[in-house]
Symmetry: C2
Subunit: 481 residues, 2 copies
């Protein structure tokens, strides 16, 4: 089933939501939790809890069934036990509701005949009655601009990312991460067993959504791989699609059948998929997040010539190694730049050049910006990477206030110049340092300056962007920023 | 020059230290900073600032020169400008001081004839007079058990690690990291240009040091590679040597000559070095830290059969992928375990098996420990990995107190059972979460339970340990824990 993309709109911008299956006692994952989270997120549409035994739920008037509602809800969320789901679908069809999200688990993923039969029954009701169903066995839709955030970051932050995922936990975590970095999510959908609507339906929808600049997809298995292949190939011409494919190992693949009741597909088929569609492949939530930071915050062409600024000779050595291992160049700077650098950087204890080693860059923003200016003007480099150490007592630096705001103000004025990328490391068991690192990276990203927790992670993310840009398949691709 | 290992003892356990080159004005990196840091760290030996123009420095009596001191200092730290260093060495030789650390930069790493000549002069004075010299151009010795911590974590924490490094920044950072995780450092030494004492001298010393269980080394270039090769091959028979080799790329290699004035050595030679010595190769400070956590906290044989416990079906899929990609197995559990798991884990929304998916493990420690018990008894697995999500609002979990202390208490009682490894992720721009993650990982590591910031990083660290254990070269190796 591939539906007209616009048909999915009410899932993400519903004017009213009925929640079937709310209880007084179970406040964990389920209808009541969804109801409470939606209110907490400031959802302004009508909310209709359905429970024949209760007059109100969480202070909201409850109704005995969908038929008794004062209006047709745009979206019905079904949180009842699996066996009771088909009758809800029948009721939806009878009263004219078309958009349904089924949270409930207990279908094909059980691996039992009953589970499979129940899922087939849902699919056939949907097919016969023309119902659009997200799920079953999933967290459903998420859209911060509609305050539709029953999970993930609450209240969430609208932004350029679309997420389609067969894992609820992974979708929630990615949504949280992108909001915490101030980049934000336009729409996300956890699609579970995808018994009715499946990956290609959501992909076609998000491809058309002008607010979505980059699509992130977590895939376990598919009913119709050819359809996703053809569509992905088209979509990557207009916007990047960054895919995490779960189940490449035998154990991972067999776990999929217990998770979403799907078949993982053979590994070599997926390798060909990535080679031939132009989709970007990632293998962890950190790699996904980092790639999204790069694709959302950097222009469509970054080049390969990196000017590396940091402090510490050893760091300069290994940071160069990392960029060159990642397929970038750390070129000799032009004579004019070198002449000036040799004037402003002392010979002993520093290195004037590329990589540039000067500890003073960590504490003296005027000094750093003078070096950045040289980089902006030097034709030898196309982007600048700053290894930004958080000053601490060990480094014999004076106790100065954090210069991040000053640096952000400067870089914001210079945003038409070459891309500047930050690496701000804060590893280990020191909680103050960890908090400071997260806050600084968040502050940079919120200002539109990509920041990563290590040089190696910056390299990996930039490499994804650079390879996406150079793929011959995508020569016709327009600027997606 | 390869010296008797014991001869290096006074560098790390000096009863008195003279610091030549202290000033009133420059409080940044230099003699005064070292002096102040040593006092701050509680160094209890005698401290002698040397400055002919001052009576006291930081409230401590100063002396005009080494000859005027009331006793022969065990260690002399030289922080004067490069051109004045040779005369200090002459003075040391004249009065009978043998142990000298030269902080000063401005020698061979300048790439000038003068710099090279000055370094050669230092080396020849040392050779003629039998002086032992750390440096020049380096941060020198660090030893928390002697309160000799002028850099890195202050006051530092004694522990099982020895560090030998040609980068001051990298040494300091690794020392800080291992202290922040409660594992600690017995001795570290930043060796700079290594004009006199070089890697093999320090390696031989740390190989004999019974308090050092694992040696971490950052190498840029060597004068005598054969000597390090032969020695490393021997040392890896008794304790692991984890090496980060900087300068594998051309740019990295040429940066080395500006950093420590060394030649990087060809890449294929270093590949053979790792293959033939049994040393473990890492490529970033995070990878180094993670490997050290695994080598320090895990027993000498961990096996390959992993029981994976977590919550979230998608996570179960991709975590299995990660372990299998890393060369581990995620085996089917025994029938007895499966029977019990099927009783205690609901069919819908969870997966009873390996990987095990049960969200309740995040909030209910009694439930988790019941599953851990089954893992301890099951002959199918040799270690247990827990993907430990930090409960947050998105996950629809009730707001419960952090159960880490309860879990640590349980695991401490069970430490004779199979190894249990934690993955506690806390990525992104949320500073509270970052702080919580760092604190939890630190708490686990401090209790002797290895904790990593992601499943992939756990896999990479465990893979280093597992491969070290299985190398035929090391069949005779004793338990190093």
């Amino acid at each position: 089933m591939v539906v007209e993309p616009e048909a999915l709109d009410p899932f993400f911008h519903p004017k009213s939501i009925a929640i079937v299956g709310v209880s007084r006692t179970n406040l964990e994952l389920g209808g009541t939790s969804f109801l409470n989270r939606l209110r907490q997120a400031g959802y302004c549409g009508a909310l209709y809890p359905i429970n024949p035994k209760m007059d109100t739920v969480s202070g909201i008037r409850a109704y005995p069934d969908l038929t008794s509602l004062p209006e047709l809800p745009d979206l019905v969320m079904v949180c009842l036990a699996a066996g009771r789901v088909p009758s809800v679908l029948d009721e939806c069809a009878r009263i004219g509701v078309r958009h349904i999200h089924i949270l409930t688990s207990g279908f094909r993923e059980l691996g039992t005949e009953e589970g499979e039969a129940l899922e087939n029954r849902i699919a056939s009701i949907a097919r016969e009655k023309g119902l659009l169903v997200i799920g079953p066995n999933c967290m459903g839709p998420y859209c911060p601009s509609s305050h539709l955030t029953p999970w993930g970051a609450i209240p969430g932050l609208p932004g350029p990312i679309g997420i389609i995922s067969q894992s609820g936990t992974i979708t929630q975590r990615l949504a949280e991460l992108m909001c915490s970095l101030g980049i934000g999510v336009e729409k996300a959908v956890s699609i579970g067993n995808a018994a009715v609507l499946s990956n290609p339906d959501y992909l076609a929808y998000m491809a058309r959504d002008k607010k979505i600049k980059v699509i992130a997809m977590y895939v376990e298995g598919l009913r119709d791989g050819k359809s996703l292949f053809d569509l992905t190939r088209k979509v990557t011409q207009i916007k990047p699609v960054i895919i995490w494919k779960g189940g490449e190992s035998d154990v991972g693949a067999s776990t999929i059948s217990s998770h979403t009741g799907k078949m993982a597909g053979q590994r070599h088929i997926w390798e060909a998929f990535f080679r031939q569609t132009g989709a970007v492949q990632v293998q962890s939530v950190e790699e996904w997040m980092d790639a999204l930071v790069a694709f959302c915050l950097l222009p469509s062409a970054i080049g390969k010539e990196v000017f590396l600024i940091g402090g510490g000779g050893g760091s300069s050595v290994v940071n160069s190694d990392s960029f060159i291992r990642g397929g970038f160049n750390v070129p000799r700077l032009s004579d004019a730049t070198m002449e000036r650098l040799c004037q402003i950087i002392p010979a002993a204890g520093s290195i004037a050049g590329n990589p540039l080693d000067q500890f003073r860059t960590f504490q003296d923003t005027a000094h750093l910006t003078e070096i950045l200016e040289l980089g902006f003007r030097d034709p030898a480099c196309s982007m600048i990477v700053v290894d930004r150490l958080i000053p601490r007592i060990a480094y014999h630096l004076p106790d100065l206030p954090d210069s991040t705001p000053e640096l952000i103000a400067y870089l914001t004025r210079k945003q038409q110049e070459k891309p500047v990328i930050m690496a701000v490391e804060s590893e280990g068991g020191d909680e103050d340092l960890a908090a400071e690192g997260a806050a600084i990276r968040g502050r940079f990203c919120k200002a539109g300056i990509p920041a990563f927790p290590s040089i190696n992670r910056a390299v990996r993310a930039l490499r994804h962007l650079s390879r996406y840009q150079e793929k011959p398949l995508n020569l016709e691709r327009r600027n997606f920023k």
